[in-house]
Subunit: 193 residues, 2 copies
């Protein structure tokens, strides 16, 4: 059997095409940005085009040019082969989440920072959490109760829970760092699962 | 000014060296695996060695060979220049967390999976959450209440909160998928932040 050269991001794009609409690279990027970005780092536009070329070369997608206003736009669709490949990939064992939490790396190295710098970074993270929560609530409104989006709703709800938990943790971090010139206060005594 | 070619992972290793001990590549990998992996994807051994070469070439670390049992082992230390570079990097604006949550991508594409397959994947994730929580509790025990590890404790506590929230969300997903042959049940009605 030939080795599978499709990346997880390639499968994510194939997955977006599995909802049966033909989509341009731009539309795919927009959709990935709106619906995937909060749990799956959205690919750059250049990466979307590169992945689409690879998918088409592997016969997993097809494309055609359609008029859009005054110009021609290439739209992509999933093929039967693409649907089979996606189905087989979805049934493979799932890797654990991969996280790069840049703020926590700063906190970990907090002995090299002024408490005030660290506090400011945590507060910036709090604002980011609020913005993510607002866009997730807008997404849930958009999804409505259409059965087609049942799974997308589950994921968006996970996102709300995830970012609410991030917000609570960030608030606790602010309190721990607050007013402690020499470092975090009373760490190690409050949380047990 | 010369462009900064040190990767975030390079700075993470430099950060581990900032605790003033000389460490071998193997020890750095072990430490990254134990203390960083739950919030910052741990680099492969080969990536650790490649980063250490780059750091030394840039003058940010130095190294020497020391006897360890019957053989010589190369140990690395941070230089004054490395400490300055790390401090400057830590004060830069912090990017939001990057997440690739492979399970949620499966859930998002749940219309292509049997509910039973999806449920099994979520249950596997639950087991992973439990294992992470157990290793975080062991880490917190190891850290004790030594002031040197005050920030490491804050991050480990964040990890406990994060994985507890993941576990709650996964349990809710199992309930939503449970006994719903056609797809998730009552999605979109339960969570608001």
């Amino acid at each position: 059997m030939r080795q599978d050269r499709t990346s997880p991001t390639g499968y994510a794009l194939l997955g977006l095409l599995s909802f049966e609409r033909e989509l341009s690279g731009y539309e795919l990027r927009q959709w990935a940005g709106n619906s995937l970005h909060f749990f799956y780092a959205a690919p750059a536009m250049s990466q979307v085009y590169a992945e689409l070329e690879r998918l088409e070369a592997a016969g997993l997608t097809g494309s055609r040019e359609v008029p859009q206003g005054a110009r021609q736009v290439r739209v992509h669709r999933i093929t039967a082969k693409g649907r089979r490949a996606l189905g087989a990939w979805l049934r493979r064992p799932v890797d654990p989440p991969q996280l790069k939490h840049h703020l926590l790396l700063r906190v970990f190295l907090g002995h090299l920072l002024e408490p005030e710098d660290l506090r400011r970074a945590v507060e910036e993270h709090l604002r980011w959490c609020e913005a993510e929560l607002a866009s997730l609530r807008a997404l849930l409104d958009d999804l409505g109760d259409d059965p087609v989006w049942a799974h997308a709703r589950l994921v968006a709800q996970w996102g709300v829970e995830h970012h609410s938990a991030e917000r609570s943790s960030a608030r606790r971090l602010v309190r721990a760092l607050d007013g402690s010139p020499g470092g975090p206060r009373s760490a190690g005594t409050t949380v047990r699962a």
